[in-house]
Amino acid sequence: MHIPDGFLAAPVWGGLCAVSAPAVVLAARASRKSLDESQVPMMGVLGAFVFAAQMVNFPLGAGTSGHLLGGALLAATLGPAPAIIVMTAILALQSLVFQDGGLLALGANVFNMAVAGTLAGYWPWRALAGTRFRKFGLFTGGFCSVLVCAFLCLAELSVSGVRFGPTALGLALVVFLINAVIEGAITATVAGSLEAMRPGWLKAPSTEGRPVLALLLAFAAVLASAGLLLASTRPDGLERLAQLTGLAARQKSLFAAPLADYRLAVPGAAWVGKAAAGLTGLVLAAAACVGLARWFSRWRSA
């Protein structure tokens, strides 16, 4: 899932760099705040562990094998912010030294795998760590993290004008779904043996907060990335998306490939109105999610 350079359109890699850079800086600040100095070597050495663990083949029968990606496992052991930093470090090394993923596409790869993938792997675990479904939380974490990465990666490629036929897209989705199940299974079993060795390694996050909110966030991440993929593979859906974000009005020439038939001469007032409408919709949906989560958690604790 490492995207090389030459695939993404300039607004896509540029925009995702602009999103990833502050996200990584924020994660660095958050981990500086929550960790002491002894955690810096821990993050580095566990990063080396993930790098090496990605080379272990997990036999799946019939001569096939899969391997760990590690985002969800790191999030469960180090916490989300340090896990984002470690995954970013791994991706940077892979891109620089192994030419696995491009340097300009690093922003996109960091966004998919280090930021979105890690958070999607963390939220289910955070929601279920204190309950009977602890193991299931780990499995779901691994599953969601791979799924979100895959959806985002495919969506970015197709927004950039890489055309998949429906067969290729279906095949890719099936492969990614299998990979997601494998990642979930590996994460859950490895974490299970770690817990048997020393219970302190898996950080059980304080479940005082709103576990259901975390679960809803994970759901939202999966749904949003799937929606993005769906929207990006259908031209009319993409037009809607572009109108929603007001992207099309600004980036006419660079967005040429998928937006060729989109009328760019939108008068300013019209797209501002549409963007405002879209933004209002988003805010309303977010408010509904939070409200629902509040209600759920109150209902659960009652």
């Binding site: 695939f7 070597p41 580095g44 470090a89 491009g102 036929g165 590996i186 490895v190 390694w201 660079l254």
Partner: protein, 244 residues
């Protein structure tokens, strides 16, 4: 489990330690120059066959010139770019099958050229100097430290994995999912223990988790010259790729 990636990066490491004109330039200047060339390759329009050929030829020539200035083996540098082939090849094939050979060739050549540009950057800059340059350019110090630790202990972890594989094979180990799981879990446990020892070692030296450079970075006029020529090369690329 294989040693393929490590033996191939050893060459990159060797290359990065020689002392040519390009090697002696400040890593910040080299990073920004590589960035300019990468952006030029990425935005090079190359709509027609002629402009695509011209653009690719110009970019190849520029990168080869860089390798010659760095006194590196030109063909090995250009050949290393082909590691992107597995990913790119699939998409190029898809585009070709859909009846768009121009797009297929453009995808292949652009991702190859970008990879060669990164190889040239890494072959002319030792990793620790590059990271120091990145930190000066505003990358969070925590991220830089973590990258350095990952790079330092990657080889240790992989060597341990190899020893574990040999030990299991010597005891007639089977290929089973459970065994792979316990291998990974034990690797995690010993990595955590190693991290603790590393922390103690750092404490014994005064508690600095930062890697100092032997000779500090400094920018001089030649670095600006490098940056200027990279900008010129980037402009040349965009122009030659934009011809009709």
């Amino acid at each position: 489990m294989n040693r393929g990636p490590l033996s191939s990066i050893r060459k990159l490491e060797d290359w990065s330690r020689s002392g040519s004109w390009l090697h002696r330039r400040d890593p910040r200047a080299k990073l920004l120059s590589a960035f300019c060339v990468l952006v030029a390759i990425a935005v090079m329009p190359a709509r027609g066959t002629l402009s695509l050929c011209l653009g690719v030829l110009a970019a190849t020539a520029i990168l080869a010139a860089g390798a010659i200035v760095a006194r590196l083996p030109v063909f090995s540098i250009l050949a290393r770019g082909w590691v992107v082939l597995p990913f790119t090849g699939v998409f190029a094939l898809l585009a070709w099958v859909e009846g768009n050979p121009h797009r297929a060739v453009s995808l292949l050549s652009k991702s190859w050229l970008s990879a060669v540009a990164v190889v040239l950057l890494m072959a002319s800059t030792p990793l620790e100097r590059l990271l120091a340059g990145l930190e000066k350019l505003g990358v969070p110090p925590l991220l830089v430290s973590v990258v350095q630790f990952v790079w330092r202990y990657l080889h240790v972890s992989i060597a341990q994995l190899d020893r574990m594989r040999i030990a299991r094979a010597a005891r007639g180990g089977e290929r089973k999912f459970v065994f792979a799981t316990s291998t990974v879990a034990v690797l995690f446990a010993s990595s955590a223990a190693r991290a603790e020892r590393v922390h103690w070692a750092l404490l014994s030296r005064g508690g600095e988790s930062h890697f100092p450079l032997l000779d500090p970075l400094r920018i001089d006029r030649l670095d600006y010259a490098l940056l200027a020529s990279a900008l010129l090369a980037a402009a040349l690329l965009v122009v030659s790729g934009g011809l009709r």
